[in-house]
């Protein structure tokens, strides 16, 4: 979502802060390779070093610059070079001014990721003040679904007395078994091999026939029970020339 809204493509120049684990950096670098460049800032020295090593190891060494500095104190030190800025900071509103400086004179896009709505509020105010347009805030969550074949029992409302209807019911049962097909061996065995069976089986069958005479196999999907309900708010804005 971030990549799309920031209009990133091969060749884009991007500023990111903070680097963190580097997973967002990887997504950005993959998109802007081979001609773009990512300037990423991380104030935690050890994490910056770790990220730098990892990027080199993954072959991104030549399209990324990892800087170990606190952006809120020092700014980006970049002027009119970037197509897009991605902010993942506790107080992003303090970095909006620097971001504006870093964006190209021909305009650019900005994204701020914050978990709390209060942060969003302040960021939007700052974006407005700095002349950013088309400010949008959104949430986007992924929901996974669990897919599996399930078997459903038809409710048994008892036999219908009328002879004619009896026939209908019979054909109906046949069709259902065809549908059940490969998904459900047990039911087929129970109902199809009806000829050479012992008394024991017959008694069991009688019990079944009132309980689960007809079953249908379908493929069902439902969302996973426990899913993350919130990651953060994404705020996007555009700077026009």
């Amino acid at each position: 979502m971030v990549l799309l809204q920031l209009n990133l493509k091969p060749g884009s120049i991007v500023v990111e802060t903070g680097t963190g684990s580097g997973s967002m950096s990887h997504a950005i670098m993959r998109t802007i390779a081979p001609t773009g460049h990512l300037f990423t800032f991380e104030f935690h020295e050890q994490r910056a070093k770790l990220a730098r090593d990892e990027f080199v190891q993954h072959g991104f060494g030549n399209i990324v610059t990892v800087a170990n500095q606190d952006v809120l104190l020092d700014g980006f030190g970049l002027n009119n070079v970037a197509d897009a800025v991605f902010l993942d900071l506790p107080s992003p509103w303090e970095a909006i001014k620097f971001s504006k400086d870093a964006l190209k004179t021909s305009g650019g896009h900005i994204c701020s990721f914050s978990p709390c709505i209060e942060q969003v509020q302040q960021t939007c105010t700052a974006l407005n003040e700095q002349g950013f347009k088309d400010i949008r805030t959104m949430e986007c969550l992924q929901r996974r679904h669990d897919v599996r074949p399930i078997t459903l029992q038809e409710p048994n409302f008892g036999k219908i007395e009328n002879d004619e209807n009896g026939e209908v019911e019979e054909s109906c049962r046949k069709r259902v078994h065809e549908e059940v097909g490969e998904n459900n061996d047990e039911v087929e065995e129970d109902t199809v091999e009806a000829d050479n069976e012992s008394d024991e089986v017959k008694r069991r069958r009688a019990a079944i026939s009132t309980k689960s005479e007809r079953t249908v196999g379908i493929v069902a999907a439902c969302p996973m029970r426990q899913i993350p309900g919130h990651t953060g708010y994404l705020t996007f804005a555009v700077l026009y020339p």
């Binding site: 990549l3 799309l4 209009n7 001609t35 021909s106 305009g107 709505i117 992924q142 669990d146």
Partner: protein
């Protein structure tokens, strides 16, 4: 990338929330909702400029003071004394129309509306603001001209003609691009029925490096959505169409000889209309493929409906053969880096057939607006044992109003963005040697990786049947065969889905991006 609107470029015109894609041409009247105007005056201005539409249809840049809202005199505390009976506005529709006819515009009309509203003064500040915004939307004729971005194109297509792009919502497009690992220098196999909307989004991310093979049904690929992306000529040239109905006879196909065809065409043209052939051929070549994005001046408005000339038809034919040749070569190697399916045809059949063309360890993404379509795809792929990390996902997307003391989600939201099936292709033959590695990594998951061992499971009734190894390394399994094999009954797979977070390096996929 310049920030200046140029003649001949594609722009997106924004009026309120409405978006429309247009080509900047001189003396060409465009209509956006109820406004009709010429784009001539926009040429040379910056992108992002807001223009006022004059009564004569010309665009002007409004003075800063002109459209400033006038200060509001007083406001009330709450809505205690407000009645919703439609009687508060004394100005009738006719008077407003009269004012407009006299040359009053925008803010003037709104001022009149406020003066003639009995209740405006006792509305709260917030509700006054809301009222003004509503009236402004209706009475101020302003448009903003924007540079097409992927986001704007997605938004425009989804809001104006969702059915033509299979209801592909912006967030779903972003997910497809990320899940399918789209970046420059890869070969992508694409089957879509979105009038090349999805193709455009992919091309945007590849910047002219790599290849996109687009399978199509019928005589030619439909590329109506492509011009909106304003892609450059060399960004487009990596797109190659290939007719779907030739997939099964691929190996008996040879490249068509273009030179032969060209001379054939030349001969035909000689006999038909003698002169002007080479030039037109060349020019047609540039304008034909990207129908408009970099078109020459010669194209007049309403050109769309004009039938193609003989020459153009021939050029188109040659182009198609070139594309087909390129695609054929790639298809024969059967080692694509990414497979994307968003089709109105039965996706299960499509994915089972096309997965063969994907190289191992590469992602496959199937989109459908319906979950059921993907359900059967998922089970079939699971059974075929050629894909792991199978996931059926959807994204939930909600926008917010952010205003001081009034921040909340928008009242209306989009209920669905469709569903995605994602997975990583594996070569089932290669997995015979490993000892069910996925179980070690995540005991709860039981992906159908190892054909010789269905793996433990929480719900299995331990009726592990003998399983015939599916396929060899050089031979992908035929799903039909597997289905007939009693050992592969899907009732051994009642368990949970393979966990999505297990095997990839961080560069493969990023959550929430």
């Amino acid at each position: 990338m310049s920030g200046i609107i140029e003649e001949g470029s594609r722009v997106i015109i924004q009026k309120g929330t409405y978006l429309r894609s247009e080509e900047v041409l001189r003396k060409n009247k465009v209509s956006v909702q109820k406004l009709h105007f010429y784009l001539d005056n926009a040429i040379g201005c910056n992108y992002g400029t807001t223009f006022k539409v004059g009564r004569n249809g010309h665009l002007t840049v409004p003075h800063a003071s002109e459209e400033q809202p006038k200060p509001v005199p007083t406001s009330g505390e709450n809505n205690q004394f407000l009645n919703d009976d439609g009687s508060s506005q004394k100005l009738t529709k006719d008077t407003i129309m009269n004012l407009k006819a006299q040359g009053f515009e925008g803010e003037d009309i709104i001022e009149q509306l406020i003066e003639n509203s009995e209740t405006f003064k006792i509305k709260t500040e917030f509700s006054q603001e809301k009222y003004l915004n509503k009236k402004r939307k209706r009475h101020i004729s302003q448009v903003t001209i924007l540079k097409p971005t992927l986001r704007l194109v997605c938004q425009m297509m989804y809001s104006s003609c969702p059915s033509k792009i299979m209801e592909l919502r912006t967030d779903t497009v972003s997910q497809i691009l990320t899940m399918a690992n789209i970046h420059s220098n890869i070969n992508v196999l694409l089957l879509e029925n979105t009038q090349s909307f999805l193709a455009g989004a992919i091309l945007h991310r590849m910047a002219g490096h790599g290849n996109v093979v687009q399978l199509y049904n019928g005589d030619f690929p439909i590329r109506l959505s492509l011009p909106h992306f304003a892609l450059a000529e060399d960004e487009m040239k990596i797109l190659s169409g290939f007719p779907m109905n030739k997939i099964n006879i691929l190996h008996s196909l040879e490249k068509e000889d273009i030179e032969e065809k060209q001379s054939e065409v030349a001969e035909e043209m000689d006999s038909a209309e003698p002169p002007i052939k080479k030039e037109i051929c060349d020019e047609g070549n540039t304008s034909q493929k990207d129908e408009g994005s970099s078109t020459k001046r010669r194209r007049k408005p309403k050109h769309y409906n004009k039938p193609l000339t003989e020459q153009e038809k021939h050029v188109r034919k040659i182009n198609r053969i070139e594309e087909e040749n390129r695609a054929l070569e790639l298809l024969k190697t059967a080692s694509f880096d990414s497979l994307i399916i968003a089709t109105k045809f039965r996706s299960k059949t499509a994915v089972l057939r096309l997965i063969e063309f994907l190289a191992p360890s590469r992602p496959v993404v199937v989109y459908s607006p319906y979950k059921e379509v993907l359900n059967e795809c998922l089970l079939a792929l699971k059974e075929s044992k050629s894909v792991l990390n199978l996931d059926l996902t959807e994204t939930w997307w909600r926008s917010y109003q952010v205003l001081t003391m009034r921040t909340h989600p928008h009242i209306m939201m989009d209920g669905t963005g469709g569903y995605l099936l994602t997975g990583i292709k594996v070569d089932p033959g290669l997995n015979d040697s490993t000892d069910n590695p996925n179980v070690n990594r995540n005991p709860a998951a039981n992906p159908p990786v190892n054909p010789t061992n269905p793996g433990p499971s929480t719900q299995d009734k331990t009726d592990v049947k003998p399983v015939i190894p599916a396929g060899t390394s050089d031979n992908d399994p035929d799903p039909a065969d597997l289905k007939d094999n009693p050992g592969n009954k899907s009732d051994t797979d009642h368990n949970t889905m393979p966990d999505g977070d297990s095997a990839e390096p961080p560069s493969k996929r990023t959550k929430s991006s």
